[in-house]
């Protein structure tokens, strides 16, 4: 377990800012106690100070996980966000997409969001913007990237993809062994 280097922090923050923008500050500067990012075996964990201090006493090979896993670094140094980060992201998301009940299942099985399943979308969402996907009763289901801006979606046919799937809560079951 170690803190992130500047390069790594930059990669993580850039990825997070894609979804929550300036609200990233609220993740770092929290009123309810100190939280920090820690790297352990290529995975980035978002940990409270107390947990981190307890974790220090565990040797590196023995430490499996601590805090909330936000994602992992690929071998080429890119940062990939995991579904476990959804709780923190959905709270501060700038752009949101709500999908209809009949679209929930296809999305939770790892498919993209089609226009037919689109319930609501935040006004003036730009193209290729990170968005958090919610069910119609405001339960966060996952996140993805928009394929078109809000204005352009109106002209599309119902089978075209609106949000490219990146992660969904179904991964808790599908990727249980590698997720945390």
């Amino acid at each position: 377990m170690r803190p992130l280097t500047e390069e790594e922090s930059r990669a993580v923050f850039e990825k997070l800012a894609n979804y929550i923008g300036k609200n990233l500050i609220h993740l770092i500067d929290r009123p309810d106690g100190a939280y920090c990012f820690r790297l352990q075996k290529d995975r980035v964990y978002y940990v409270s100070e107390d947990t981190m201090r307890l974790g220090i006493s565990v040797a590196r090979p023995n430490l499996i996980s601590l805090g909330t896993c936000f994602g992992k670094f690929s071998k080429s140094g890119k940062f990939k966000l995991h579904i476990t980060a959804l709780d923190c992201i959905s709270k501060y998301a700038k752009y949101k997409v709500w999908i209809k009940p009949n679209g929930e299942m296809p999305f939770l099985y790892g498919n993209h969001v089609l226009k037919a399943h689109l319930g609501r979308i935040t006004e003036d969402t730009p193209e290729h913007q990170g968005v958090v996907v919610f069910s119609m009763n405001d339960m966060p289901l996952g996140f993805g990237v928009t394929s078109r801006s809000t204005v352009d979606t109106r002209k599309l046919d119902p089978t075209s993809i609106i949000v490219f799937h990146q992660a969904d809560v179904g991964e808790y079951l599908r990727d249980e062994e590698t997720l945390f």
């Binding site: 803190p3 280097t5 930059r10 923050f13 800012a17 500050i25 820690r38 100070e49 981190m52 220090i56």
Partner: protein
């Protein structure tokens, strides 16, 4: 009729044209600059600052204008123009003095041996032509042999003996040598030892070559005296650093990223904001059978197998 009262009241309205000061004002009309060297009047300064400053400024401008009107003038369409003299106030230079050039290898040698630099004339006397000719360059004396229309050939010369080519090669070799020495001088001036640079280059190539096998050099045969490749030592912050410090560095990084993004984002031009060029190309491509318009035009036909 007594007009002295009117004159007095009129004079009171305007301040005197001549500026009287203890130390006269220094005027430099070339820079349109007036310098007031008088000490500040403490009472006036404390009583009413604004008025005091205004009166000081007024005096300065008055002195400047008076000096401008005393200058020689030139007629122009917009009226007479005063011709400013060259400025007398020396301004400090904006940039530091240029550094002296580092000496070349020859200059170092000459300085060590006490050899005086002697300027060679560009022209030399040609006995045959009884004229001054260029030492080098156009019709230069160094090209005399190769430009002769007839050349003596020694009796035991080969069949393919070409005196013109030999002379030319000799001259070109001198040019190449000079160029190499010039580059060496530049490299030395940069603080690089040319041998060291070359050695580093070779070592880098060798390291790359050693890890360029399928096993990244793991199963290669080791040569005698081959050193182990050492990578860069990484250094990380301690895990148990104070979190407030870490928070501050993170926040600084975020604000830095924000300002970078702002710098990257340029102001969109007016027509750009209305027209999404990429999209327009895509739509135009759809109507013409999948080829982008520019591509279709370049091929000279409407339908082509372009990338969508």
């Amino acid at each position: 009729m007594d007009v002295s009262g009117i004159i007095a009241s009129n004079a009171a309205k305007y301040q005197p044209v001549e500026v009287e000061k203890e130390t006269p004002l220094e005027v430099d009309p070339g820079l349109l600059l007036v310098t007031d060297l008088n000490p500040i009047d403490q009472e006036g300064y404390n009583a009413n600052l604004e008025e005091h400053l205004q009166s000081l400024a007024r005096d300065g401008v008055q002195a400047l204008l008076a000096s401008l009107f005393s200058l020689p003038t030139q007629r122009s369409d917009e009226g007479p123009l005063a011709q400013l003299p060259p400025p007398t106030t020396a301004l400090p230079r904006a940039k530091p003095l240029p550094k002296p050039k580092p000496p070349t290898k020859w200059e170092q040698f000459a300085a060590a041996k006490g050899i005086q630099h002697r300027k060679r004339d560009k022209r030399v006397w040609d006995e045959e032509r009884q004229d001054w000719v260029n030492r080098w360059g156009r019709d230069g004396k160094n090209k005399q042999v190769e430009e002769q229309w007839i050349t003596e050939v020694p009796a035991n010369a080969d069949v393919d003996h070409d005196p013109r080519k030999i002379a030319r090669d000799e001259r070109k070799a001198k040019v190449a040598k000079n160029e190499k020495q010039r580059l060496g001088n530049i490299a030395r001036a940069q603080g690089a030892n040319p041998r060291g640079v070359r050695k580093e280059e070779i070592e880098r190539t060798l390291t790359t070559a050693r890890i360029s096998t399928a096993s990244m050099g793991k199963f290669d045969k080791k040569l005698d005296g081959e050193k182990k490749v050492r990578g860069v030592k990484r250094k990380f912050e301690p895990t148990e650093k104070s979190l407030s410090e870490e928070k501050n560095t993170s926040l600084a990084l975020i604000s830095k990223m924000g300002s970078e993004a702002k710098k990257m984002r340029r102001e969109p031009a007016a027509e750009e904001s209305v027209l999404n060029v990429r999209k327009a190309v895509r739509f135009a491509g759809k109507t013409r059978g999948g080829a982008a318009p520019a591509r279709g035009a370049a091929r000279g036909r409407g339908r082509g197998k372009g990338k969508r």
